[in-house]
Amino acid sequence: MREITYQQAVLEALREEFRRDEKTLYFGTNINYELRQEFGEARVRGTPISESGFVGAAVGLAGSGFRPVVDIGMATFGFVAMDQMVNQAAKITYMFGGQAKFPIVIRMTVGTGQFMAAQHSISPYPIYMNTPGLKIILPSTPRDVKGLLKTAIRDNNPVIYFEHRLLGDITGEVPEEEYTIPLGLAEVKRKGADVTVVALARMVHVALDAAAEMAKEDISLEVIDPRTLVPLDRAAIRASVAKTGRLVVVDEACATCGAAAEIISLVVEDEETYALLKSHPKRVCGPDIPIPFSPPLEQYVAPDREKLILALREVIKKSPQ
């Protein structure tokens, strides 16, 4: 199969969906020029630096029959538009008794790795997961991002699309033919028997790397990528843990009240799965600190292969031979 980059996959998804449905629109302070070239200034619109204004406009457009895709850029910039996301987009479908649909995709980039410090590095998906009414996708591969973004654009609800900043340039196989991936379906990125590793975004690649490493010691990891955080594929996660009896969640976002806490909770509060646990579950997350600038500091805080392996050894109770 052909290989393309994550970024190219994103562009393909947008192009295909924009051709498919002329009610789609794109806007943000930093416009996508390729998209503008094909679809024109009316549909691919530059905005002033007025996030609250243009996210709110997206809500109004959606309620009036359009399907806006809004590019906020870095997730830290989203906080100035928080009311429109949390109080409006997320709630009004329910609050108005389902009278209207609000199909909106909001793109925000997350993660560390480019030394941009606290106000440009954050992975706030737990904040949005705690906001009922939103859907959330967090794709880790070119194939996933294309399929999920297409589904998100067709979805009749507000969907937040988080993109890890370091994934843009990675390549991967992407089918040439049309496909979509449903929201709420986790993917087993690697089958295994000893420990279930649930990994998010860039951490999927870290987990696969760790799995390859651990395989040398005959330890077999099952790497699960939820791909969408809301809805979250509880069944797949529980099924895997039921099989392996062990769970480690690896996520770059800070630990407290994070996705990892949710994933651990949904596993242990399920009586059957709990009964099959062979060890305590574990989080490998970012610490509860703002992201520091200096490379040695930033590198110290993001989870990596070594930290993951350390945690894995703890739950397996097996030292390297």
Partner: protein, 321 residues
């Protein structure tokens, strides 16, 4: 007046409908039959009615927390409104929204809003939708004087200005935001002056004179429909009652100020004019009043007789299909 007799009678009827509806809602709230918060529109009826007189079912309005009058003026069904306020299953939002969240998308009423100023960006989106569809639909957003101090106000007026949108910013300056006098928090002699900062034509209108409101709105609506872009109208008016029913803080407005404004009752003034001009006679007036009272009575009856939603309905409708 260049307004048809029919239109005058229709406006009078609508104003009276709002008044009677609100009087009744307030009474029901005091009796404990209506739960939650009610922000009464009594005293401001001329604004909603004079503006909405120019709007068709395809035109859109966006409202705020004080939204009953806007709904009625736009043609919402009293029964479904009252049922919603009672929290009944037959209400506009199936009881999920209540007084602060009535919407009727089928008549272009895009919703009341509990967050001060949040409706402005949403209205900008609705106006952009109309512009993109090249329809001559107009969007009107109603908001209070206090809302003009929120950041979203600035962003919305600017977006409307640079995109030349068919939108009318209808500021209901009732002199206070809760207990805060607008002139303590705005150092200008009108809110309308702010429109100049976006090259938007703005003017101050007597919001207690429905004919003045009608004429000012006409000009703005015609301009918007013919592609001249946004207008800003500041309606000077007054709310007769406390910020909301049973407010948990005292009403600190001067008693004589309240009384003086009651003297300037928009309905009484209009009624007088119609009687003087022979548009209406006492009998006609009485007939309208009886008809309005009976419609409000029916609405209350409908609300009381309607069932509450099933508790489990709470879990439904978070997302659209």
């Amino acid at each position: 007046m260049s307004i048809t007799r029919e239109e005058l009678i229709s406006m009078y009827t609508k104003m009276l409908t709002i008044r009677r509806f609100e009087e009744r809602a307030v009474r029901e709230w005091a009796s404990g039959a209506i739960p939650g918060l009610i922000h009464s529109y009594i005293g401001q009826e001329a604004v909603a009615v004079g503006v909405c007189a120019h709007l068709g079912v395809d035109d859109r309005i966006v409202s705020n927390h004080r939204g009953h009058g806007h709904c009625i003026a736009k043609g919402a069904d009293l029964k479904r409104m009252m049922a919603e306020i009672y929290g009944k299953k037959t209400g506009y939002c199936k009881g999920k929204g209540g007084s602060m969240h009535i919407a009727d998308f089928s008549i272009g009423m895009l919703g009341a809003n509990g967050i001060v100023c949040a409706g402005l960006p949403i209205a900008v989106g609705a106006a952009l939708a109309a512009q993109l569809e090249s329809k001559d639909r107009v969007t009107v957003v109603f908001f209070g004087d206090g809302a003009s101090n929120e950041g979203a106000f600035h962003e919305s007026l600017n977006l409307a200005s640079i995109w030349k949108l068919p939108i009318i910013f209808a500021c209901e300056n009732n002199l206070y935001g809760a207990n805060t006098l607008i002139w303590d928090v705005v150092r200008l002699s009108s809110v309308a002056e702010r429109a100049r900062a976006y090259a938007i034509p703005g003017r101050v209108v007597d919001g207690n004179d429905v004919v003045e409101v009608y004429e000012a709105a006409q000009e703005a609506v015609v301009a918007a429909r013919s592609g001249e872009g946004p207008h800003f109208l500041e309606f000077r008016t007054y709310r007769w009652r406390h910020h909301f029913e049973g407010g948990y803080f005292p009403d600190l407005r001067p008693k004589d100020e309240v009384e003086a404004w009651k003297e300037r009752c928009p309905i009484k003034r209009f009624e007088q004019k119609l009687l003087t001009n022979g548009v209406l006679d006492r009998a006609g007036q009485e007939a309208i009043n009886l008809q309005v009272m009976s419609r409000v009575e029916d609405a209350v009856g409908f609300a009381i007789e309607s069932p509450f939603p099933d508790p489990e309905d709470a879990l439904k409708g978070v997302y659209s299909e």
